[in-house]
């Protein structure tokens, strides 16, 4: 895994859940390749459910979080004013950095002003796909979204992440269905399928025999009362 991981994808594909889960997992690693760890929240398209809402949790786990210009008081601001400080983790060779983009090509656009950090090969661009989202039910539609993101950023997507799910209604067969489509998408686009996410606690790895590699996700972003 390269130093900078940029996470893009369709609205609601699960980018933020993946970014927060990945940061939490990396923060627990003992032998770190990079001593520092940061999440850069570049979602200026959406005012709700952004990684900055989990700022406290991330900071408790020594993950630095960079978002808008208003720091913690800005969690509900929808001003597209980014803090200049977020260039720090992009420049810091000792900092593993996860960049959480907004949804779709429109939400990814904001990355372009930081393109100088993505000229070399020190980064990866992941596209998250959920084949149970209404607008990406088919390989063809998912492909159109991934292509739109590549066009917008003028950067190749280096890896696909299968995050097919229905929140708490996610069942192993739903994941398997999504995995089949993700493999087809990967083959068509000649982009490697990096891993398949599954909601830890709802589905166990044993139920997903044959699907590899797997990545457990927490449901950090969803308040419990929403499942009542």
């Amino acid at each position: 895994m390269k130093r900078i991981i940029v996470i893009a994808g369709h609205y609601g594909s699960g980018k933020t859940e993946l970014a927060v889960s990945l940061a939490m997992q990396l923060s627990a690693e003992k032998d770190r390749l990079f001593p520092r760890l940061a999440v850069v929240d570049l979602d200026i398209a959406n005012p709700y459910f952004r990684s900055r809402e989990r700022m406290q949790l991330l900071r408790e786990h020594s993950v630095s979080l960079y978002a808008d210009a208003f720091d913690s008081t800005g969690t509900t601001a929808e001003l597209p004013a980014l803090t200049a400080a977020l260039r720090a983790p992009l420049e810091d060779e000792g900092c593993r950095t996860i960049v959480d983009l907004g949804g779709n090509d429109a939400g990814a656009r904001v990355l372009k002003q930081f393109s100088k950090y993505f000229q070399g090969d020190g980064h990866e661009l992941w596209a998250v796909v959920n084949f149970r989202r209404y607008e990406t039910l088919t390989v063809e539609n998912a492909r159109a979204h991934v292509e739109a993101i590549q066009r917008e950023l003028d950067m190749p997507v280096t890896g696909l992440v299968n995050n097919t799910h229905l929140l708490r209604e996610t069942a192993p067969e739903i994941l398997r269905e999504g995995w089949e489509k993700a493999k087809a998408l990967s083959e068509q686009m000649k982009i490697p399928l990096l891993f398949t996410c599954y909601p830890a606690g709802l589905v166990s790895p044993e139920q997903l025999a044959g699907i590899a590699p797997l990545m457990p996700l927490g449901l950090y972003m969803r308040p419990a009362y929403l499942d009542k």
Binding site: P47, R132, Y134, L166, L167
Partner: protein, 364 residues
Amino acid sequence: MTTDKVLMKGNEAFAEAAIRGGARLYFGYPITPQSEVPEYMSRELPKVGGCFIQAESELGAINMAYGAGAAGGSVFISSSSPGIALMQEGMSFLCSAEVPLLAMNVSRGGPGIGGIQPGQADYYQVTRGGGNGDYHIPVFAPASIQEAVDLLYEGTELAQTWRNPIMVFTDGMVGQMMEPVKLPDYKPVLKPSEIAAARNWACTGYTDRGGDKERRVVKSLRMQPEKLEEHVEKLFEKYARAEKELARWESENLKGAEVVFVSFGTTARICREAIEILASRGVKAGLIRPISLWPFPNKAFDEIDFGTTKAVISAELSMGQMITDVQLALNGRLPVFLAHRTGGMVPTSPEVAARAQAVLEGLK
């Protein structure tokens, strides 16, 4: 065809449900937290032969809805709190002129520009209305994306049946969150040439009406007091029927409950979690969830177990607005208390449970 369960963001699902329910015209102006609705409509309506127009403001949008509705179009509009406030004058005009409209308020914190996090402080706005004169708008408050989808799907037909605006009132949390939903099949829609016959009051011009030369007038101006009174009396016969036919609610755990929550939308889901917390502490709590806010489901309150229930708590994302209707429905039968947060803050279920315990303790 009805879809399999798919994951959708509230706002996208609302827009898709309105289209599947037959809405073909949308006029709007973006405002958080519902801007995905106009975004979706601008992209999807033209694909089904519909029309999207971004108005210059919410005042423009509601008056476009008035005109298009008067011509027999199936119109859907949406906005959020301050935007709905701007539409109030138009709502009164539509009610007076008996023009159908499906409207949605994805509400946020107020007053004023307020904030962009969820709120329910538009309760008075949507149930009482800020427009002038004697009128009512049926208001439905879904607690899940699926329920919102079902109500919006039904909404276009309901608005036509009652020849009145129908409002779906939800909050920013439901608009912004994701949930698995089943989308119902597309309803058949009238061809423009069929509107004149099917909606025999609509101002379609003479073109599609064969030999029929009767003038059709859609208006809200009535200069003779006798005529205006007669018209309002007629409207209120309709509203009286609506009060009987449109009251909807859901009740849970009322039998043997010591305390009953009354709440709608997002807050009802928090109350459900609070009820579980209270049960684990040996306190039996129930829930009345009004689905229609106007007409308010007064009958639901007759189902309370008056032998065991000591208090009723109106749980709201406001300083207490629905509580007035709860008090009217109970008519002094039980003391009514408030559990609330406002300004875009959402109470946690332990907070709501603690409030219920404090209320019961205070009554001892």
